[in-house]
Symmetry: C2
Subunit: 161 residues, 2 copies
């Protein structure tokens, strides 16, 4: 498909119900959304019972890799408002997954760490995420997988300005 044809009113594939998708399947934005929804749905079923969301998995991973980091530092990477992050972290602390203590040098800061149950949970979830990643990798092959990671990063960068 040429770039120009993005503007055409193409007829998308019909579902088995006879409903047409119109131009949506030819749009990257739409297909990215569909893929993201599929990945989240699979995540939810594969970790059902572990009581964890994709966002919480990211958060636990970031705290694991950055022990001692503060909430404000995390918002630079996990892009939500500090009030939202406060609620998320409070939830993880209440569940015994994360521990925090005020910094000795500047008592405004918290320092965050994974508690042992958090590390255990992260390990279990990581297994499921790795399984999910392998399933996608098998559908693409190593070269396409690597190419796709690069393309997704470039797309993010398109809108950073």
């Amino acid at each position: 498909m040429s770039v120009a044809s993005v503007n055409d009113t193409e007829v998308g594939e019909a579902a088995h119900t006879g409903i047409l998708f119109g131009p949506l399947p030819g749009m990257l934005g739409y297909q990215i959304r569909q893929a993201q929804t599929a990945v989240f749905r699979d995540f939810a079923t594969s970790v059902s019972g572990l009581e964890i969301s994709p966002g919480e998995f990211s958060l636990l991973t970031l705290i694991d890799v950055n022990p001692g980091a503060s909430q404000t530092q995390l918002t630079a990477v996990y892009k939500v408002d500090k009030s939202t992050l406060s609620l998320r972290i409070s939830g993880l602390v209440k569940r015994g997954l994360v521990r925090r203590s005020r910094s000795k040098t500047d008592r405004r800061y918290y320092a965050l760490w994974l508690a042992a149950p958090g590390r255990r949970l992260l390990g279990k979830v990581r297994q499921q995420v790795d399984r999910q990643e392998r399933a996608m990798a098998a559908a693409l092959g190593p070269d396409e997988r690597e190419a796709m990671l690069g393309m997704l990063e470039r797309i993010v960068r398109v809108f950073e300005s």
Copy 2:
């Protein structure tokens, strides 16, 4: 990157704050989510003032392409609960963007159409979406863009079973 390395604890790139991303940047699920967030954010700013969400754009497009379709038919494609779709459609009807009337042959059904203001709005939003698609296409080039659409569709299919 090999498929096996998905399991490694790779060190992700550091943000300009010194925070590490850990294994996240090497995960398709994570990068798909990042791209989706970036696309939605750009959508929101580019159509700000038009009071429309990405989901409403999809819905208006589907109604445009399938005039006369019922709400139940739409849920086969726009995958939300019928109660959720009822609320969404009610909102579009109240805003004068969509019209509905009971089917003559089976009065349980609604038949949905775009009202004139809905068609006008969809046209404006479509211009912005096309601009967004061209921006992404420019960052990829025609071949990669087409390849990416195919890969995204395959990823959705991985989880359909």
